[in-house]
Amino acid sequence: MSKSLPQLRIINRLHVLRAERRITQEQLAKEIGVTRATIIAIEGGNYNPSLELAFRIACYFKTDINMIFSIKEEIK
């Protein structure tokens, strides 16, 4: 039997970065090619973006991916 792995909770600072640059969800969505609903879902922690989208977001904000997405805690 395989060992059960702990669940990882990924948090993000997307709303902080967006607020710092005074960008609306609609503008960000348009720039990175997704819908506003997806931005809302990411910011609310309801959806973890793919690696490609995460890199696209990081490129848009000209920052490292770790500055936006990080692992907060491990839930057993």
Partner: protein, 198 residues
């Protein structure tokens, strides 16, 4: 081919409502609720048949295109459900909704299969035919036939009996079952998708 697909889908969807209206008219015409005397009524009934035949031909073409063309499948699902896959999150939601539809349809089919095979009869027989003096009989059975008609379609037994309750396979036609399945797939996909997108 892309243009052909687009026209095919439009004609199929817009024709669906016309076919539904004409089917209702034809039903009333066949039961005599609409007077058969008027020329225009006869013409309309003939026109209904023609439209239905054309629509059926288009449906066959649409089914074949749906089987062979991936982009056409995406186009159809967007038109039927009015939901487009605009980004990766919506593509994931589409997958989840499709999984739900697949599994619920499978459950529905298993249920229908069981119901189509199952037979139950509760009946009374005359005293001279009674077994151990008991005239009330409960009969349970399963009938499955791969190529020929099922037992439920065979003529009734010749034993003189008074049915109290009898169930022999599904009481609806195969066309009704297929229509029910189509409706189930479209409605359950829509419902799942909208619930996931909230």
């Amino acid at each position: 081919m892309k243009r052909f697909d687009s026209i095919l889908l439009k004609v199929f969807l817009y024709g669906l409502s016309l076919v539904a209206v004409l089917a209702v008219f034809s039903y009333f015409y066949s039961i005599g609720a609409v007077k058969h005397s008027g020329d225009y009524v006869k013409f309309l009934n003939g026109f209904a048949g023609f439209v239905f035949a054309v629509w059926m031909m288009l449906s066959i073409a649409l089914s074949l295109r749906l089987i062979v063309s991936g982009p056409f499948r995406d186009q159809v699902i967007a038109r039927i459900t009015l939901i487009r896959e605009r980004d990766e999150r919506e593509a994931i939601l589409t997958g989840k909704a499709t999984k739900t539809v697949f599994l619920t349809s499978l459950a529905f089919l298993i249920l229908l299969f069981c119901l189509s095979c199952f037979q139950v009869s509760v009946y009374k027989v005359p005293l001279e035919k009674a077994v151990d003096g008991k005239t009330g009989i409960v009969s349970l059975g399963l009938g499955f036939s791969l190529l020929e008609h099922g037992r439920q379609d065979r003529p009734e037994d010749t034993i003189e009996r008074k049915d109290i309750f009898s169930y022999r396979g599904l009481p609806v036609s195969s066309a009704t079952i297929i229509l029910m399945l189509i409706a189930w797939q479209v409605i359950s996909y829509n419902y799942s998708m909208r619930r996931l997108m909230k």
